[in-house]
């Protein structure tokens, strides 16, 4: 049962990634693209967790943690670039 649920869940996340990708491609506003990218990161974290569960392996945890911790840095940087041009002032 869990196996099926895991695969359904992974399928959902994959679909979510596709939807993010569509928004990223489409835009139209820069804000939309950044949101889409940010969401992709979140979905990627979800996917990593699922991969870990599917494989019965918790060694991927750090990757998810790292992504949660630093994934937003690029989002912020993209935003700051638009807002200020110079991301470090």
């Amino acid at each position: 049962m869990i196996g099926i649920a895991l695969h359904i869940a992974a399928g959902c996340i994959a679909l979510a990634l596709l939807l993010n990708g569509w928004r990223l491609w489409r835009g139209p506003a820069l804000g939309d693209r950044i949101v889409a990218l940010d969401t992709m990161v979140i979905n990627a974290i979800a996917l990593i967790v699922l991969i870990g569960m599917i494989g019965g392996n918790d060694t991927y945890f750090e990757a998810a943690l790292l992504l949660a911790m630093v994934g937003f840095v690029s989002t912020i940087a993209y935003c700051k670039f638009i807002l200020r041009g110079d991301i470090v002032e």
């Binding site: 399928g11 679909l15 992709m40 060694t59 911790m69 840095v73 670039f81």
Partner: protein, 937 residues
Amino acid sequence: MILLFLLLAPFVAVVALMATRDASRRLHVTIAAAASAGGLAALLSQAGAALSGRMPMVTIAWLPTLGLDLALWLDPLALLFAGLILGIGLLVVVYAHGYLKPGEPTARFLSFLMLFQGAMVGIALSRNVLLMLVFWEMTSLASFLLIGFWRDKAEARQGARMALTVTGGGGLALIAGMVLLGKAAGSYDLATILTRADAVQASPLYPAILILVLAGAFTKSAQFPFHFWLPHAMAAPTPVSAYLHSATMVKAGVFLLARLWPVLAGTEWWFGIVTVAGLATMLFGAGVALFRHDLKAILAYSTISQLGLMVMLLGFGTGAAVSAAVFHIVNHAAFKAALFMHAGIVDHETGTRDLRRLGGLAAIMPLTATLGVLAAAAMAGLPPLGGFISKEMMLEESAHTLLAGQALLVPMLATLAALLSAAYSLRYAVALHFGERRTGDVAAPHDPGVLLLAPPAMLAMLALGLGLLPMTLAGPLVAAASAAVTGGAAPDLHLALWHGINPALLMSAGAVAAAVLLLACYRPVAALAARVPAPDAKRLFDAAIARLVATLRRLSGALHVASLQRYLAVLFAVALTLGIEAAVRHGIAAGDRPTTSASPVAIVAWFALVAATVAVVAADRRRYLALIFISVIGLVMALAFIHLSAPDLALTQIAVEVVTILLMLLALHLLPGRPPRLSAPPRRLHDGAIAAAGGLGVGWLAWAMMTRPERPGISRFHWDNSYSGGGGTNVVNVTLVDFRAFDTLGEIIVLGIAGLAIYALLEPAARGVAGRRLREWRSNDRHSPERHPMMFVMATRLLLPLALLVGSYVFLRGHNQPGGGFIAALIFSIAILLQYLASGFDWTDQRRKFGEHALIGAGVLIAAATGLGSLVFGAPFLSSSFGYFHLPLIGEFELATAMLFDLGVACVVMGAVLMALAQLAQIAQRAAKAEAAEEPS
């Protein structure tokens, strides 16, 4: 040993002259003269031995593997030649003392002259053909320097270059010829080669050898059609002309023909080429000489003609002809050197060398005139001078020579040449010294001092002596030298003015009579000759070279255009071509390893990656957008690494991606917005084709490899020994810090260097043009005024300790679980960069306590020191050790030197990353500040 002294004396003089270049002219001349005189004395001391067949020899091994030894000998031919070189050299040195104007750099002049002398002596004495080549090319070089001595004169420079090009080029052909000769004869030892005529002449290489050797000899000896450089070499100071371009260097070609006569002569090829070339040159030179007005030009063309005579004689292939040639070498050296010096005196005293502006000098410069007339008479082949005897011998030999089946062809042409020689010689003697008095630029010229007069006078006496007492003065030497040339016994030699009435005498007398006749009606003949189109060799040569250089420059410029796009296109094309070649030749089929079926998630991720890649390409000039798509690729890569069992790679990828994006955004800030497209559609199509082919190729390689079964390899050992030998369960990390720690050491050094280079690039960017551009820099975008968004700032304050903690954790566990120094360092760096992002450069920089340089330096040192530590224990560099320790309360824990190494890694990585980003941020910040200062507030 004496031979070695002979060879080295001139070179020692070169060094001495250069060392004393600021000393007096007297000292310079003394040094040079001493070298020549000493050499001459040494030579004479060995003359007896050389002539009696107890040939002095010396061999010093130099390049035994090549067969190039410093092997010298003094056979009669060498003796003759070396004697000429040293004897005339001595006279020229003395003459130069009087000739050079005060203030002219005698040391330079004489050192070049000595360099030349040494090289010539080397040619003469070499008993190894490769050694001879060394000296051969050196003479070209010395000649180049000497012709160009008056470097301010254009004709000197051009003449020098032309001489070097032609004789140096010939020398290169000679190199090929000599090496082939050595190959055919089985040795580079001259004595051996001379005994292998049969082998050489039977070799299929013989024609090539002959032609290449002759190319060397003919260019050096100014044989038609390679003669043209010689007249332009007259731009050299006259002592040089006298020495190099009449007496010695140009005779090196003749010498070479004589030297190799036993092994090369006697064939149809030899006879045909050498005789015809000599004959043609003799006629041509004489003909031109007759109508020149510059004294040195007359002498130059006469030299060409006389050299042709010698070459022709050697071409005949008979012993008697060889004797004639050898004797003429001596004669010509005497009278032609004398004549050049004579011309130099005239030039020196009257300021001109134009025959039309000179005349009647006999009355005011009697001594000069006497020696001039004497020498010219020798050149004309008049009795009782030496020139007469050798000319008689020549005519005698030509009378017996059949060319192209014609018995009369050679004698008639030889007579014609003799006629012309007599004519220009008499013209020189008569027009200059007799008739109406014309004195050039100077009102009352007079005989020069003894320094200028004595050397040519001695030579003129010699020319006379060679006629009056030929057997005494030259007989034994010429006989022995001729024997050396022919390789047989000494010929039955009778050098004498009178041989009775024979065809030669008749031809000679007729020629002289006709010459007188010709001079009598010189004017109309000259007018007629002037109509003959005479190509200006120098102009043609210069134009040809100029055209060649221009064409080559265009081609080379077109090829080496500064274009990265071209560099890369060619590189890709080459790699592609080679890959396709291999694939076509041997086929690259997929293997039979069972594939793994892909999950829908994987397919989606793949799709995302492909779409993002396409998007990056499509959005390439919308740089910001392209970067966002790059982020997607990075994300998918990280996911792929996780899916494919590489957590360390995933961690690294995630962290590196963030840092890279920050870096690119910082740079992007300073680049112009959206630039116009640069390349036209065909170009893009062409690049697209390369790109598609490259992609398919690499993809196929990957496919072929992945579908092949794994092979047992070294990583099995790594797996098995990771825990037991490396003390860690994360095999990737143990590989990085232990099995292949040496790679990692190199890798962090790369990173450290990158940091330094970046610092070096950005540190001075605030100055100069870049600084101005930075100050003028102004973004077109309107920006929000808020610098430090509150929520962001607050979050980073909490994140900093958290991130440092996570980083430390990742560092400590890296040996056993995914992680390690590199990833930890990236996390640390990102944590600090986050502060920069949130709170600005200054704020953060003030609070940072460690410099990047220190981090990089310390990191490399820690890593290296860890490696060196193992030396103390007698283990190789970078040997690790680890142990499990037990402490109360804490329990068991592991300590490994590899972790210390990893600490070094972390320091360097952090230093380099911070260096790159902080430096870049700082410059961006400076630009922003400059912008803010400009804005009205």
